[in-house]
Structures are given as C-alpha cells and as structure tokens.
Symmetry: C2
Subunit: 194 residues, 2 copies
C-alpha cells in the first residue's frame, strides 16, 4: 500500500534494536483518515472472504479493527491481555510471550463472543515474531471458528512470524512489509505489493 509506505518513510522513526516507531499516526496518535484507507485496502484484499467478525488484541489493534469493520459491516471482538491470569467466567485463553516486554501474558476472549458459526478476519497493527497472532489463532481454534485471513498494517518481513503463519496455510495480507531497518540506512520494503 503505497500511501502507507510513504507515510512510514516520512513519519516513522527508527530506534536502536530495530524498533520502528510509528506512534505519530498508527499506535499512540492515530490518523483516522489513514485508518479509513487501510480499512478500504483490507476490504479490497479480502473482498472474496465471507467475514462475519473481526478479532484483534488490545490495545493498538482496536482502532484499526473498528474502522476496518465498517467496510465489512461486522462487529469487532478484542482479546484482552492479562499479566496474571485471574479469570472469572467462561473464556478461551492462550499464553503469549511479549517480544517488547520480555514477559509471558495471558490472552482471553469470552466464550459468548466466539463460536463455531464465526468466520474471522484477524486485524493487528504489527507482525514480527507472530506471538500475539499465534495466541489469537489458538483461541479461534478453541472456539471452533474459521480463520478467513489475517490483515496486518506493518510486517517486519525480516522476522519469522509471517512465514511461519503462512506455512500453516493461513492467508496473511500485510499492507507494508519491511525488508530491512537500521538507523543508518532507514527503512526499505519488500516489493511485493499490489
């Protein structure tokens, strides 16, 4: 998605340790006009999918998921993160290792909001090692729901998460696939976009 890649080049900041900061438009301050273009592009890519629910994970996936849901005319469910599992009620649950914070947390979704009738599009802002997505996939499997696909805004294609998930036969569409990232040379993208 050309508009997004140009925005990352213009406003993204690269920190030590291959951190790409896009918090001026994606995950702290949120450019809702851009989110609308992102949602429109997800709809174009998943136009042939029969999605009835979008699943994301708190916090930075929620805004993109909600705007995208308008193009699919469906509700959004966001999975909740818990530092310590203190669950009451009927929930699906998975353990996720955080790359950024070096800790394991629990992810939950209420059983009331996910079941065998659901055809899920997962939406998230970032894909790197794929840990959060694998947690969401486990939850969808527990629910007996179907994964229609995964829509990602920024994929770090030099990390293994995307390939591992695609190798399971799951369709992953990333709107900007980062090939390399360094303070010296800036950001470059995989040239596979439509």
């Amino acid at each position: 998605m050309q508009l997004l890649k140009e925005r990352i080049i213009r406003d993204g900041k690269i920190g030590e340790g291959n951190i790409l900061k896009v918090d001026s438009f994606l995950n702290h301050q949120m450019d809702i006009a851009l989110f609308n273009e992102i949602g429109r592009e997800f709809k174009r890519r998943f136009a042939n999918c029969d999605v009835n629910k979008i699943l994301t994970i708190e916090s930075s996936g929620i805004g993109i998921a909600c705007i995208t849901a308008q193009f699919f005319d469906c509700p959004v469910v966001f999975a909740k993160k818990h530092r310590t599992l203190n669950i009451f009620g009927d929930v699906y649950t998975a353990k996720v290792e955080s790359y950024t914070h070096k800790e394991v947390y629990d992810v939950t979704v209420s059983k009331a909001f996910l079941g065998p009738q659901d055809r899920i599009l997962i939406i998230d802002d970032f894909l790197a090692k794929g840990n959060a997505l694998n947690g969401l996939l486990q939850i969808i499997e527990q629910a007996g729901a179907k994964v229609e696909g995964i829509g990602i805004v920024v994929e770090k294609a030099f990390q293994e998460g995307g390939d591992l998930i695609r190798s399971q036969g799951i369709r992953v569409e990333s709107l900007a696939r980062v090939k390399a990232l360094s303070v010296e040379n800036g950001v470059s993208f995989v040239e596979d976009d439509c």
Copy 2:
C-alpha cells in the same frame, strides 16, 4: 440517547456490586453500527466546539474514540496505562487509582502529541468515580491544551465522578446516565436526555 438506553436494557447484564456489564456491544465485543450512532450523537452535542483532537485511554475507549473522530475529522490520541512507571522519552504523566482493580497505575501521553495548540474532546466508555478522567485532565493541563468537553457513553450518575468534574466548569455529555442499578430491579436512567 434512546437507542443506547434500549440496548443497555436489552443486552446489559448486572452483576453483584453494582457492576453493569455491557461487554456484548461496548467494551469486549463492539457493535460498530452502534458506535457510529454514538459518534454522530457526540458530534451533535459538541457541534459548536472547535475540537482538533480526541483524547481517550486504553483499552475500551479507543474504538468509540476512533469512530467518533470521523465525525470531527480529527486524529485520536490514546493515553497509555502502565502498572509500573518505566518511562523513557518525553511524556506527560498522571497517577490514576483503579476502582475495578484496586491499584494505582500511571497514565502517559507523549509530549509530541499534545500541546498548547490543542482543543481536546475527551471520549471514554464509562464514568463512575472519574479517576481516569481526572488523570486525563491533569495531562491536558500539563500540556497547556484546552478541554472542549468530555463525551461519555455510560455514566453511573449515582457515583460522584460526573458531578465533581462538572463542578469544575467542564462540560460532560453522557449518552446514558444510570440512576440506579441492582440485580433485583435492573437498570434505570436519569431522565435528562435530549
């Protein structure tokens, strides 16, 4: 807002300790069509305000804030919650006591995204004791920004938060003001809606 009150009566669940669960449409599963009506109503109520940015707090305010921002044609900034303050970079910060989780957490917003030029509409899903809102107001004050108003989806009017904030001269618009709540008698609303 009649549509919202009807939805709360139909789909809200009341738990012990005056907990109103609206997680089937507001803060776990999110009804985006309803969010659009909520955003439209916030725009109607704050039509005469010159809002250039919406501020909310993770996680459950984000979706409503993003959909509402489409009616104001402005970006959203969400404040981040931290269990322990481990801040790097330039941020505004406030301490907030959690009513639900009985703990104190830190709320932060990057200084890059809030300043004296900003005219802020705060959006959140719930208002009870007003602790989270007071944290956001402190952050706005630190930034030297102006508060245009506060838009709340559900206010527990039997708790003191709304009155305390209104007594500071800040305009608070709540789309459903809950007067009383009990397992036996269900939910009733303050009859002050337009």
